[in-house]
């Protein structure tokens, strides 16, 4: 596909200056994952998601984590392309797991007894209350399981925007059974995200040129929110206006007047059937296993 992946040639102006924005870019890569039919990948993804949710046993979760990591390796995403997304999600998961560990909250339904290995007492008191932190084996393993669950789901999810051609979302959802209008809406939504990002970057540049500094701290919470108005108002108004224009353009080309055909075709290959079967088998095993009472929370 000539021209694909040449994003660097004509970068969206100003895009790189807005470091907060999590930008993802699909790139054509000659990998097994990207040769797969997006439908079979989404089906496998759904099976994977449901299966992971059924287990709390770290030993089983490590299997899912291994599958997810294998998929990430097979996708051959470069660290440079995906760095920001990984850091963002990594930080989020770490903080989440750490909070779980420190508070022990959420684990009470899963284990009844705790084997305390350390009790940390703060060397001070607040209003006669001494902050105390007990760490038990159960707590540690609950945090680890939590981490394995969230991380395997997150990794599989990140792969989707990086490895599915955004131009295929419409037909993919259509062939998975969604109605025409809904499928095309999914397609438009996927492309709305980067264009929103671009509007945001342009607005940021325009306001910076008027001396606006997002970093400046002024006023309380309300003051902080007010300071966002110069960014948010133009972006929101712009989205509404361009949404109306797109609607007009679609009406003018007879969108939604009758059942439509799709130029793009999707054809299942043998590898797609293998993947779907693997996904369904995984889900079936998970369902049977968990109804038999396997895979509950485990700590050595």
């Amino acid at each position: 596909m000539p021209g694909r992946g040449g994003l660097a040639q004509k970068p969206v102006p100003g895009f790189l200056h807005f470091s907060m924005l999590v930008t993802w870019k699909y790139k054509p890569r000659n990998t097994l994952i990207q040769r797969l039919d997006p439908r079979s990948r989404l089906i496998f993804y759904a099976c994977f998601l449901v299966s992971v949710f059924m287990f709390w046993d770290l030993r089983i979760l490590l299997f899912f984590l291994a599958v997810a990591l294998l998929a990430v390796l097979a996708a051959q995403l470069s660290w440079r392309d995906t760095r920001r997304t990984w850091l963002f999600i990594g930080a989020f998961i770490l903080i989440y797991a750490l909070l779980t560990l420190l508070t022990g909250r959420g684990g009470f339904e899963l284990y009844k007894t705790e084997r305390v290995i350390a009790t940390l007492r703060a060397p001070f008191t607040i209003f006669n209350w001494q902050p105390t932190l007990t760490i038990s084996i159960e707590q540690i393993f609950f945090a680890l399981s939590q981490f394995a669950r969230v991380f395997s789901i997150a990794s599989m999810t990140i792969l989707i925007p990086y490895t599915i051609d955004p131009a295929q979302y419409g037909i993919t959802f259509r062939r998975l059974g969604l109605p025409d209008k809904l499928a095309f809406a999914m397609d438009l939504t996927m492309r709305f995200v980067p264009s929103l990002g671009r509007d945001f970057a342009m607005t940021m540049d325009a306001q910076k040129a008027r001396g606006y500094e997002l970093e400046r701290r002024e006023g309380g919470l309300i003051g902080q929110v007010r300071r966002l108005a110069p960014l948010l108002v133009p972006v929101v108004i712009h989205s509404i206006v361009s949404g109306e224009e797109i609607t007009d353009a679609m009406d003018l080309r007879a969108f939604g007047t009758q059942p439509r055909t799709w130029l793009r075709e999707l054809v299942y290959q043998r590898r797609d059937y293998i993947l779907i079967i693997a996904g369904v088998l995984m889900l079936a095993t998970a369902i049977i296993g968990s109804t038999l009472g396997l895979g509950r929370f485990w700590a050595p």
Binding site: M1, P2, G3, R4, G6, A8, Q9, K10, P11, P13, G14, F15, L16, H17, P166, A167, L188, R191, S195, M202, T203, D205, A206, Q207, K208, A209, R210, G211, Y212, E213, A229, P230, L232, V233, P234, I237, H238, V241, S242, E245, I246, T247, D248, A249, M250, D251, L252, R253, A254, F255, G256, T257, Q258, P259, R260, T261, W262, L263, R264, E265
Partner: protein, 558 residues
């Protein structure tokens, strides 16, 4: 058989004034019809009535009269049927492209009609080879240049094989070379038997392809309907852009009819292509023979600037120039040449990868954008990316407050800026409720209130009609204050009321704008500065008009 509009009136649901009043007109196959008029004259509403958006999508307005599309009333037909008779290309091709790959953009309408795949592919390849865009079919739409985007949008409409084509300001986003190409194409389409309807305020350019039929609209009514020569005499030349010789002739007549008053020099030749070319040239000559008497430190200095985005290829190569007080620079060059990337260096939004940009003597790398904003004011192309405040006053005080100007200064500069953009008394109006032209002027005013020494504008005329942009350019540049800027630069800055800044830099595709308001031209092509100075052959540029044939441009771009 033709498109026949009879006694059409329309009032939008939210308005009390009718947008169209008793319109009657005929559009014939094989003809180019030009519809001209200032913004708000009803052109766009008329197009919406013909292509069926009114009444099919805008359902709540008051519609009277009828439109017959080659014999069938369009109110009686569903959109699916209308869309196969009338094709519409909206003003901004970027806003109507719905697919991410070119081939799917072209197929979109055909898919909606439920056409079998083989027939679609056949039509797509035929239309692509007709428009010479076969090589673009598998490109991503957002990577296309302005001219390419428009052709792709056109292809998507033509694939549906309409009998009539409506084009809303097709030249607005095109550089001169692409614009000339687009016009040739429109002639070809008309010759193939399509009824072409072109809405455009650049009347001059459309007339160059010999429009058979011209309509002029004002306040929702047709005030002229006839041939091209008649249009020249019938319309207000201050509102739309007529060919320069016609304007000069008309001005002479008007001057003769009221000899005691005469015309102010500034208005005498608004397109400024011929008669005042001489005076302008002599002014430029003066500037050159007596070089700037300014002190050593220039306002902006580019020193061997190279730039690339991230790890991408280099976009700017070894750009060097200086900008001094009194300079009014027009930055010209084809779409995608790197003009915007270059001017973003002047406000610090881009910092050079190699080389230096000095702003009033200081390296831009040591300064934040907010600090630079004290010296350089940057007006973005689209006002919709910056307007947010509930009133004009708050909008205009946002910038100066950010850079810490005191209340007294801000109040003064607000009233001065509003006068400069010709909107005095609009202080309490919400900017978001204003017309697009007014919003554009407010966006300029909101930068002027920061009292920058240099004003930088990205395509000030884009999306503006002729009357609008000549107004604000006249007002802020102060063209009527005499040729050149030698008189101004002698005065201390505080006494200069009409012009709030010392130097001006603007990007434009419009050669007339460059010729009229600049005293120096920078020509950029492929990321290189290929020409700099008043001695860039402006006379050649001027004589060839807005649409410079590629061959003429070649000496400058090589």
């Amino acid at each position: 058989m033709s498109i026949t509009v009879s006694h059409l009136s329309y009032t939008y649901r939210t308005r009390t004034e009718p947008a169209l009043v008793d319109i009657t007109a005929k559009f014939r196959p094989g003809e180019i019809t030009l519809i001209a008029g200032a913004s708000g004259c009803g052109k766009t509403t008329l197009v919406r009535c013909i292509n069926g958006l009114i009444p099919h999508s805008y359902t709540n307005g008051m519609l009277e009269g009828t439109i017959s599309l080659f014999g069938t009333s369009n109110a009686a037909m569903p959109m699916a049927q209308i869309s196969q008779i009338v094709g519409t290309v909206l003003q901004d091709p970027e806003r109507q492209i719905v697919a991410s790959e070119v081939i799917h953009e072209i197929s979109f309408g055909l898919e909606n009609l439920g056409m079998p795949r083989e027939e679609m592919l056949d039509r797509i390849h035929k239309v692509a080879s007709f428009l010479h865009i076969d090589h673009l079919l598998h490109r991503e739409t957002f990577q296309l240049s302005g001219g390419e985007k428009q052709k792709v949008a056109l292809a998507g409409v033509l694939a549906m094989r309409p009998k009539a084509l409506l084009l809303d300001e097709p030249l607005a986003s095109l550089d001169p070379a692409s614009g000339a190409e687009a016009l040739t194409l429109m002639r070809e389409l008309a010759n193939s038997g399509i009824a072409m309807v072109i809405i455009e305020h650049r009347v001059e350019d459309v007339l160059a392809v010999k429009a058979e039929h011209c309509i002029y609209m004002a306040n929702g009514r047709i005030t002229y309907d006839g041939d091209a020569p008649g249009l020249m005499q019938a319309v207000n030349w201050r509102e739309i852009k007529l060919p320069a010789p016609v304007v000069i002739e008309r001005v002479r007549k008007e001057a003769r009819s009221m000899p005691s008053e005469g015309m102010p020099e500034s208005e005498a030749v608004p397109t400024g292509q011929h008669s005042d070319l001489k005076t302008r040239h002599s002014a430029l000559g003066t500037r050159h023979s007596a070089p700037s008497t300014q002190p050593a430190s220039p306002l902006i200095e580019f020193r061997n600037v190279h730039f690339q985005y991230g790890d991408g290829p280099e976009v700017l190569h070894d750009i060097s120039f200086t900008m001094n007080s009194g300079d009014r620079i027009a930055l010209l060059g084809p779409n995608g040449a790197g003009k915007t990337t270059l001017v973003k260096h002047a406000i610090g939004l881009n910092k050079p990868t190699r080389g230096q940009v000095l702003l009033a003597g200081r390296d831009s790398k040591t300064l934040s954008v907010a600090q630079i904003a004290h010296t350089v004011g940057y007006v973005f192309q689209s006002p919709s990316h910056m307007l947010f405040a509930p009133t004009v006053r708050e909008e205009l005080s946002f910038g100066p407050k950010n850079i810490g100007l005191d209340a007294q200064t801000i109040t003064e500069s607000i009233s001065r800026a509003l006068v400069a953009v010709n909107l005095p008394g609009y202080d309490e109006i919400p900017p978001l409720s204003m017309s697009f032209g007014q919003q554009k002027r407010i966006s300029i005013a909101s930068v002027l209130t920061m009292n920058p020494r240099v004003l930088v504008m990205d395509e000030p005329s884009a999306g503006q009609d002729y009357a609008n942009y000549t107004h604000f350019m006249d007002d802020i540049v102060g063209r009527d204050k005499g040729p050149g800027m030698t008189d101004q630069s002698d005065l201390p800055a505080s006494s200069s009321h009409s012009r709030a800044f010392e130097a001006l830099l603007f990007i434009t595709h419009d050669l007339d704008l460059a010729i009229t308001y600049a005293n120096r031209v920078l020509l950029v092509a492929d990321g290189q500065l290929v020409a700099d100075g008043a001695d860039v052959n402006l006379a050649t540029l001027a004589q060839t008009g807005r649409f410079l044939p590629a061959a003429e441009l070649a000496p400058f771009t090589m």
